[in-house]
């Protein structure tokens, strides 16, 4: 039997983030499961470290570190998001219908972040996976430099389709620099110069395609996009060239 849902609408306005988050946490304690947040205006740390089957529908622009350390909640942002979304998040899903700022999904270890538009710099850096905990980030637009830098696990899928930057390359410089686990998939192709040292982009195989297809299906459904169109192009993948690419940097073995 599904647990009983309890809804609540909050207006953030200019409420100080501390007070606002205290209210959310108190309501969650009291059994509220589905939050609608109106007029969000830069309040930081929304849904940070919350656990379980909660949902957040957010209108307006939430502040830094949305959903940091969270384990389970599903957040939908109907506008743009700022920096640090899903910082070290453990599980759950964040859907961003606009664009997002820098360091999205930093050190993320589970769950999904789906962004419709462009993202800033250092997205998905230090992502890591453990057993079936596989963090996933799908970016509908283009990415800035250092996407997936030092990545240790999980999946980043970069589509480059819904971008406000027609002239920019699909990914910035130093893509995947220092990665030693996980995989970055890119729709179409990525200029060789944008890749981090020692990395190459190779065509995907049928196993990769299965993973991509499943992820795209989920992504397209959440953002009301045409998954067939997304899948209508080839993909390339970027994988680490060794398990410890810089293992010999300071202490040669």
């Amino acid at each position: 039997m599904a647990a009983k849902r309890k809804k609540k609408t909050l207006v953030a306005g200019r409420t100080y983030y501390k007070q606002f988050n205290e209210e959310i946490r108190a309501l969650a304690e009291q059994g509220v499961t589905d939050f609608t947040i109106k007029e969000c205006n830069g309040q930081r740390y929304i849904a940070t470290a919350l656990e379980g089957d909660l949902t957040f529908d957010i209108y307006g622009v939430p502040g830094q570190d949305l959903g940091a350390f969270m384990r389970g909640p599903k957040i939908r942002i109907h506008n743009n998001a700022q920096d640090g979304v899903g910082n070290t998040m453990d599980n759950g899903r964040v859907i961003i219908e606009g664009l997002a700022g820098d360091v999205i999904g930093y050190a993320m270890r589970g769950g999904e972040i789906f962004i419709k538009g462009d993202v800033g710099y250092r997205v998905g850096i230090h992502m890591k996976a453990y057993l079936d905990h596989q963090p996933k980030i799908v970016i509908g637009g283009k990415a800035g430099d250092f996407l997936g830098e030092y990545m240790a696990g999980g999946i980043i899928l970069l589509l480059g389709m819904f971008s406000g930057k027609p002239d920019a390359p699909i990914a910035g410089r130093s893509l995947g620099t220092g990665m030693h686990g996980g995989v970055i998939y890119v729709r179409g192709s990525v200029p060789e110069d944008q890749l981090g040292p020692g990395l190459t982009a190779t065509p995907v195989d049928s196993d990769d395609l299965k993973v991509i297809e499943a992820l795209v299906k989920d992504y397209a459904k959440e953002l009301k996009l045409d998954s067939k169109e997304i899948m209508s192009e080839n993909f390339v993948k970027i994988r680490p060239f060794s398990h410890r690419p810089y293992g010999n940097l300071y202490v040669p073995c």
Binding site: R14, N41, R44, V61, Q64, N80, D102, D118, Y121, A168
Partner: protein
């Protein structure tokens, strides 16, 4: 408080900080409430140890005169700086900068403003300098020789208002809601290893230039020595000061375009230069070779303004956030989108500029 005598007593500044700027391309006047509210939205980017604003178009009746905003620790500093101003300038009008008592701002220094012009035939050691160099020389002289006196700004039809406190408290103190300007910039400071003192708050200015900065100029030492060789003396104990003087040197004195000055601050990487075609390759090689000591190393998002322009620029690997937004004749630049939405909910366009690529917005006239 005075800057240390020895260069090695200078320390660098690492900061979180929040920045906001707005320009109306048609010179439409923007009330002070807008930048104040935007900075209030980003309250937590600072820690109460520095807040400030620059405003352009605030002295239309005195627009042909240089306006010196003076900050003085005590009456002796006021006397000393006034003597200096009278000695070097024709003084047309002066008054205290209106302030109000604010609970959050204990023991503020004293602020006066002086509207001056350069005498036709000055009889002093700076007499051979062109007008703007003359102004710069006097600013340096006051800052380095009058104890407790600092020039906060020295441009035409513009002024800087800054101090120790959160920006909204500083705005309250200076009654900024009573001003209207066609360009505003604002700053919320989070100093970590230089003193949070009144002169160290942003913006930093010289002539019409003003700059607010989020980040850290790790190259402060080399930039400062480079500027010293060109007669710009850093006295404010905050790294950002070098940017104001470099702008003046590169753009006004050396004739570089704003775009080129931005490329001195945040040059392309050598591997990128390597891939450029002939002309660009030569240009950027020459720029890096010539202006190596002017390069700003370290994380930064800066907003630079003069009477006709607003420019936003990131360091070349974008270690600090910067967002640009448009609404009709207004362009906003901000650390956070929420601050812009707070004062202008409906925007035509929002984007985050590429690292090292300046966004330059001109007045239409």
């Amino acid at each position: 408080m005075k800057a240390p005598e020895r260069y090695y007593d200078f320390e660098k500044d690492i900061s979180g900080c929040g920045i906001f700027g707005v320009i109306n391309r048609k010179r439409g006047l923007i009330p002070g409430e807008m930048p104040i509210q935007a900075m209030t939205c980003m309250h937590d980017r600072g820690n109460g140890l520095g807040g400030g604003f620059a405003a352009y178009g605030i002295y239309p009746e005195q627009a042909d005169k240089y306006c010196f905003h003076m900050m003085c620790d005590d009456d002796a500093a006021i006397k000393g700086s006034e003597e200096m101003i009278k000695k070097y300038f024709d003084l047309h009008f002066y008054e205290p900068i209106p302030t109000r008592r604010v609970l959050a701002i204990p023991n503020p220094p004293k602020f006066n403003r002086y509207f001056v012009t350069v005498p036709e035939k000055p009889e002093n050691e700076f007499r051979e300098l062109p007008e703007e160099d003359y102004i710069v020389a006097v600013v340096m002289k006051i800052n380095t020789t009058v104890p407790g006196a600092f020039v906060v700004s020295s441009g035409k039809n513009m002024g800087a208002f800054k101090g120790v406190g959160f920006p909204e408290d500083i705005a309250d103190f200076f009654r900024l809601e009573e001003y209207k300007a066609y360009i505003w910039t604002g700053h919320n400071r989070f100093p970590t290893n230089t003193p949070g003192w009144w002169g160290g708050a942003h913006p930093f200015t010289i002539l019409n230039w003003s700059i607010v900065h989020n980040g850290e100029i790790s190259s402060y030492g080399i930039n400062r020595r480079y500027l010293c060789e060109h007669d710009y003396l850093c006295t404010m104990m905050t790294d950002t000061e070098v940017v104001a003087y470099e702008l003046d040197m590169l753009i006004r004195k050396h004739g570089l375009s704003w775009e080129m000055a931005a490329k001195v601050f945040a040059p392309p990487f050598w591997d990128e230069i390597e891939r450029m075609d002939g002309d660009d390759k030569d240009l950027y090689t020459a720029l890096r070779v010539t202006y190596g000591p002017g390069m700003l190393n370290g994380p930064f998002a800066i907003l630079v303004a003069d009477n006709t322009r607003l420019m936003g620029l990131n360091d070349r690997i974008k270690l600090r956030p910067l967002l640009v937004a448009e609404k009709d004749d207004m362009i906003f630049m901000s650390s956070e989108e929420s601050a812009v939405r707070d004062v202008c909910p409906d925007l035509d366009r929002v984007w985050m500029p590429k690292a090292g690529e300046p966004v330059i917005v001109d007045l239409e006239d």
